[in-house]
């Protein structure tokens, strides 16, 4: 049928759709386990696995020299996490202090020090090295994936639109036994009241999302003192506040910050003495986006056994918006409160409307009545994620291939990360990353989570003979090759 329609068909064993860090770490695992490059195709609209991640982190205020949230052992370039980023930073240092500082931090975290977190630039460099080592580019096929469908004879067909001028036809098909989806966020969603303001008044300068380019806000705040309203209580809100305050300190910006909380956390909170999370000044504090043991310990083991409502209840307990309690941020905000240029407000936003002098007025329903906050800028740092239906490949899977929703409304996957209901003969369809949040493993949307998913998928594929089982001997010999930067 495809041949009749003039669509060329290529054969391979496994296709991974997305080409971001989720695809990259899976391909890394499979190559290390013994898969040849000819068995894998990465279908992607980006040239480097870290491209989208870099874009999002840059606009949300993490330039290359800054540190990210993930820990020393979350190493997307190294499946063993040894040497970890802290150890590598120590051995790359040129002074004794530079050598000892990361080792001291990682050895004493999170008790005497904040968690060690790597510089984002170091993470990109390490991934570039690993991409070369596993010949990632040989497997990369550029284009926009349109859909993944089951084939009558088993396996899957993935339809991709190559970039203009790169192929003689508008569509190309890949026929493979297995498919992996690492498509990232289905899409970002604005707070409804902010979206309404932008649509109604056509103003995308004064009301911005933290995940879109908004440097003009900082530029103008340095030029003239003004008020800015920040929505959100997660890591991105922390970053935005850090940038605003750093600009105050370095460039003498006269910014007045109004931080809007919908839920204000006053202190430690949780259902029992065994499940109490730290909090205060509005924030819920946590090193990473879930309690650390979801990536390997008690909470990982527990969630793996839960179904339906029980699973959702545990997600509710350990989830919610939170940010790390970093000493630098604590000091910044304490200073802001003391000097009066950082204030918090608690309530539900009712609507936004243009004010006088080019301001935008946020009307907030608080416990004490309606409050109007005029500001030069409003920054939405809530990081709402859109429904998985917003992604066309996922929507097509839900409509035509038997995929369903998990208890949190995202893509339902097995413990092996196989998308439930989509098996096609001997072929299997897997998914990892943010689209699968709500499954048996909560930490999906992180470097380490992507690696855990990749390991599960690799092991499942090994059980079907796609690659040899990655056992002790191969693991050690491949690690030695990694250390010497030799091809797999």
């Amino acid at each position: 049928m495809l041949a009749e329609a003039g669509i060329p068909v290529h054969d391979t064993s496994l296709v991974t759709v997305g080409g971001g860090i989720g695809s990259f770490v899976l391909v890394d695992y499979l190559r290390i386990a013994g898969a040849p490059t000819s068995a894998i195709r990465v279908l992607s609209n980006i040239d480097h696995p870290w491209q989208t991640y870099r874009y999002l982190t840059r606009v949300s205020q993490i330039p290359d020299h800054e540190r990210i949230r993930s820990d020393s052992g979350s190493t997307p370039d190294n499946i063993w996490a040894f040497p970890s980023y802290a150890v590598r930073e120590a051995f790359a240092a040129r002074s004794l202090r530079g050598f000892l500082a990361p080792l001291w931090q990682v050895a004493t975290e999170p008790v005497l020090s904040d968690y060690f977190t790597p510089r984002i630039g170091a993470v990109f460099e390490s991934m570039a090295r690993e991409a070369d080592r596993i010949s990632y580019r040989e497997m990369l096929v550029s284009g926009q994936v349109r859909m993944v469908r089951r084939r009558a004879g088993g396996g899957y067909l993935t339809i991709i639109t190559p970039p203009k001028g790169h192929a003689p036809t508008r569509r190309v098909a890949f026929r493979s036994q297995h498919v992996h989806l690492g498509v990232g966020y289905p899409g970002l969603k604005f707070l409804p009241d902010l979206q309404e303001y932008r649509s109604r008044y056509g103003d995308v300068r004064r009301v911005v999302n933290a995940y879109e380019p908004h440097e003009h806000v900082y530029d103008e705040l340095i030029r003239r003192p003004a008020t800015v309203v920040v929505h959100g209580a997660g890591i991105v809100a922390s970053r935005i506040l850090d940038r605003l305050i750093t600009d105050r300190d370095r460039h003498q910006a006269g910014t007045h910050i109004v931080h809007l909380f919908r839920t204000y956390v006053r202190g430690s909170h949780g259902p029992s003495v065994f499940m109490r999370r730290r909090g205060g000044d509005g924030w819920a504090y946590q090193g990473f986006n879930y309690p650390k043991s979801v990536w390997g310990g008690q909470l990982k083991a527990r969630m793996r056994t839960l179904e339906g409502d029980e699973r959702k209840a545990l997600y509710d307990t350990i989830g919610g918006t939170n940010t790390p309690r970093r000493r630098r941020w604590q000091a910044q905000l304490a200073r802001g409160r003391h000097e009066g240029w950082y204030v918090t407000r608690v309530g539900e936003v009712e609507r936004l409307a243009p004010g006088t002098d080019g301001t935008v007025v946020t009307r907030v329903r608080t416990a004490d009545g309606m409050l109007e906050i005029p500001a030069a800028y409003v920054i939405d740092a809530t990081g709402l994620v859109a429904d998985i239906r917003e992604h066309r490949v996922l929507a097509d899977l839900l409509d035509h291939s038997g995929a369903g929703h998990n208890p949190l409304g995202r893509l339902d996957v097995e413990r092996t990360f196989e998308v439930r209901g989509t098996r096609s003969g001997p072929g299997r369809l897997y998914a990892s990353g943010a689209a699968t949040l709500g499954g048996y493993f909560p930490g999906v949307d992180t470097f380490l989570g992507l690696q855990i998913a990749a390991q599960e998928i690799c092991d499942d594929l090994a059980s079907q003979g796609f690659v040899p089982h990655l056992g002790v001997a191969r693991s050690v010999s491949q690690w030695a090759r990694w250390m010497r930067n030799q091809p797999v």
């Binding site: 040894f82 003495v273 310990g297 909470l299």
Partner: protein, 144 residues
């Protein structure tokens, strides 16, 4: 680390039986002991056995304490600091003649041997262990 109870017990026994044994073999001839090497080895391995056996009880206690932590984690430095309470208990057992082969063991020899084994095991658990055992850290420290 983010151990489960089963992971704690398995990791402790495995690392003491491998890294602990190797380090004990290497360090014992260098210990300040006025006794034939055979006697010194009997004392060292007695201590190693006591660390493993008493440690199973300690792991239960640590697991209980871990329940009060929101993250259900066990920070790296706890793994080092617990040398103090564990070392003290094993030493008291040595002094009470409860450790086979270790009667009359000098304090300095005990401190050196115990310290070397403890630091060696701690270092291995925080890095090299992941190289042969890829799934170990995602399974709460379980090997089986």
């Amino acid at each position: 680390m983010v151990p489960t109870l089963a992971g704690r017990l398995q990791t402790r026994l495995f690392l003491l039986a491998t890294v602990g044994v190797v380090l004990t073999v290497l360090v014992t001839p260098l210990l300040p002991v006025d006794a034939p090497l055979g006697t010194a080895y009997r004392a060292s391995f007695g201590v190693l056995f006591a660390v493993a056996l008493l440690g199973l009880g300690w792991e239960l206690a640590y697991h209980g304490l871990q329940q009060f932590r929101w993250e259900k984690d066990w920070p790296t430095m706890f793994g080092l600091l617990t040398a103090l309470n564990e070392g003290l208990l094993v030493w008291l057992a040595v002094r009470a003649d409860a450790v086979p082969g270790a009667a009359g063991l000098a304090g300095s020899a005990f401190v050196i041997h115990f310290g070397v084994v403890w630091v060696g095991v701690w270092l291995c658990a925080n890095g090299p262990m992941r190289v042969p055992f890829l799934r170990w850290r995602f399974h709460g420290g379980r090997l089986l």
